[in-house]
């Protein structure tokens, strides 16, 4: 069993941008150590991590998963205010206990020539490693636009997204026919289209798609993000507050433009 080292090595490596789709690479089966390291990571980052989705990757400990308490893991992650999206690289013999604990098992659906991440997890026997990335092994937030890998499935929400609700469209765009409330969260691997005001958090391209955009009829969001580049709306001065707007990513800057 691999235990977290007690020496100077950081138990966590957060790579790339602070992408909303965080991948938590676990290097230990001790839930306590994992959560401890994750909590420390969270506390050092801004409140940005609050309720952000997280995917657990078990690759490094795939052969010793019987020792992992999956229920404690999911509960612990929730208790730290993350949203556990799913888990991957779990061996067949633990599938039952994994699903029983309430995990969604993510398959590497896009088993295409997984571009190896530039800086592979060279870190060692530490507890966890959180990297921003995607649902495949295609792990770099700074990788090429991944349009072509998006299945382009559109999710349509035909009522307001309320405070406290989170909707996530994996592999495609999301269309919200009315508004989104303050304290709500709308996420898509593709673009986000809202035919009303956005008052909550809106995150497009959460898997790293830099060409994703956000469209809305009234820009009042608390936070907007594309491919992990985020902006609190209160921090920017735009004449388009409350107005129809389109947001795209240029370099590492979010550009807010009027809708033509």
């Amino acid at each position: 069993m691999s235990h977290p080292s007690t020496d100077s090595v950081s138990p966590i490596d957060l790579k790339g941008e602070m992408n909303m789709q965080n991948i938590l690479h676990i290097h230990s089966t001790e839930v306590r150590d994992i959560l401890h390291a994750l909590a420390a990571k969270r506390d050092e980052a801004p409140p940005f991590f609050l309720r952000s989705p997280i995917t657990v990757d078990c690759k490094a400990v795939e052969s010793e998963l019987e020792a992992l308490d999956f229920t404690a893991l999911i509960e612990g992650i929730k208790a730290l205010s993350f949203v556990p999206v799913g888990i991957r690289n779990v061996s067949d013999d633990v599938v039952e206990s994994v699903t029983k604990a309430g995990w969604a098992i993510l398959r590497d659906s896009k088993a295409k020539k997984a571009v190896k991440p530039t800086s592979t997890e060279s870190t060692d026997n530490t507890g966890v490693q959180a990297s921003s990335g995607d649902n495949t092994d295609n792990d770099s937030a700074e990788s090429e636009p991944m349009n072509e890998s998006l299945g382009n499935r559109v999710m349509v929400i035909n009522r307001p997204v309320r405070s406290g609700q989170q909707v996530y469209s994996p592999n495609g765009d999301i269309v919200v026919l009315s508004q989104t409330g303050a304290g709500s969260e709308v996420l898509a691997d593709g673009s986000v289209h809202v035919y009303g005001n956005i008052a909550g958090r809106v995150l497009a391209g959460v898997n790293g798609d830099r060409s994703a955009r956000i469209f809305c009829q009234g820009l009042e969001a608390e936070l907007i993000a594309i491919a992990g580049h985020y902006q609190l709306l209160d921090e920017i001065d735009t004449p388009l507050k409350g107005q129809p707007a389109m947001i795209s990513l240029d370099g590492d800057k979010l550009v807010i433009e009027p809708m033509i």
Partner: protein, 269 residues
């Protein structure tokens, strides 16, 4: 066909119990057999506002635990025919309610021919509030014209849409917005959100607006549902919402600062 209506809000102290009492009394006055249930176990408020607190023998929790029959526990109102109160227990906590128990009480009320079952929800978004809304067909979401209250109502609407039995069965609860403690003057002065602001944020149909009125507190101190105070603006506004709920078209009142007050402010000083 009986209908279960939950009076809910998220935020506390916005007027749920006041509304439950007035609304149930109004429906009963129209001839519908109506019961109002206090889900605020541990606090017990509804029986005070309904003026029946000295007549409580058994309560909702007793019925759920099989310690008393439903009929023994229902308190029949002395002013209005067809009106019954099922009080909450003051001595238990909200864990005393069980989903199965609540369901069987509601089913029995339906079998007894109640037209309307009004559920007065506790504040918050925890177990008690969840129990009160789970079996509802319709919801009256009570909001005060301030940001935190509206935000909580938005939250409750999300829960109605995802956690109710109707939602689990693929349907949806019919939603009504009720704005209470509305003060046109404070809206005009920019201290409170306007009806339009609130409708923009919540985007559900407006059932009515109840003005801020001193008669509400007076009425509840006397154990009289304010809808019976026919001279009070709040009482009249509650009458309107009952009519509207029953399908009548009634114009909204009490939305503007009274003319007199307005002129006084213009020329008064």
């Amino acid at each position: 066909m009986s209908k279960v209506i939950v009076i809910t809000s998220g935020k506390g102290g916005v007027g749920k119990t006041t509304t439950s009492a007035a609304f149930a009394t109004g429906l009963a006055s129209k001839g519908y057999k109506t019961v109002v249930i206090d889900f605020d176990v541990g606090l017990r408020n509804l029986d005070l506002i309904m003026g029946v607190e000295r007549r409580v023998v058994y309560d909702f929790v007793n019925v759920i635990n099989g310690e008393a029959g439903l009929r023994q526990s229902l308190i029949k109102d002395k002013r209005v025919d067809n009106l019954y109160v099922l009080p909450a227990s003051q001595t238990r906590d909200k864990d005393a309610l069980s989903m199965k128990g609540v369901e069987s009480v509601i089913n029995e009320l339906k079998q007894d021919g109640f037209d309307y079952i009004v559920c007065d929800s506790p504040a918050g978004i925890e177990k008690g509030a969840f129990m009160a809304l789970y079996f509802a067909d319709e919801a009256i979401v009570v909001t005060n014209p301030e940001v935190s209250s509206v935000r909580d109502s938005d939250r409750i609407l999300g829960i109605l849409q995802s956690k109710s039995r109707k939602a689990e069965e693929g349907g949806s609860i019919k939603e009504h917005l009720l704005i209470t403690r509305y003060s046109p003057k404070r809206v005009e002065d920019g201290e409170m959100l306007s009806v339009e602001d609130i409708l923009d944020i919540l985007a559900i149909p407006l059932l009515g607006v109840i003005p801020e009125s001193e008669s509400v507190l007076q009425a509840s101190n006397q154990g009289n549902p304010v809808i019976l105070e026919t001279k009070s603006t709040a009482g009249q506004a509650y009458e309107d919402i009952v009519d509207r709920f029953l399908g009548e078209t009634v114009e909204h009142r009490f939305l503007d600062v009274e003319k007199q007050g307005f002129l006084k402010r213009l020329f008064g000083k």
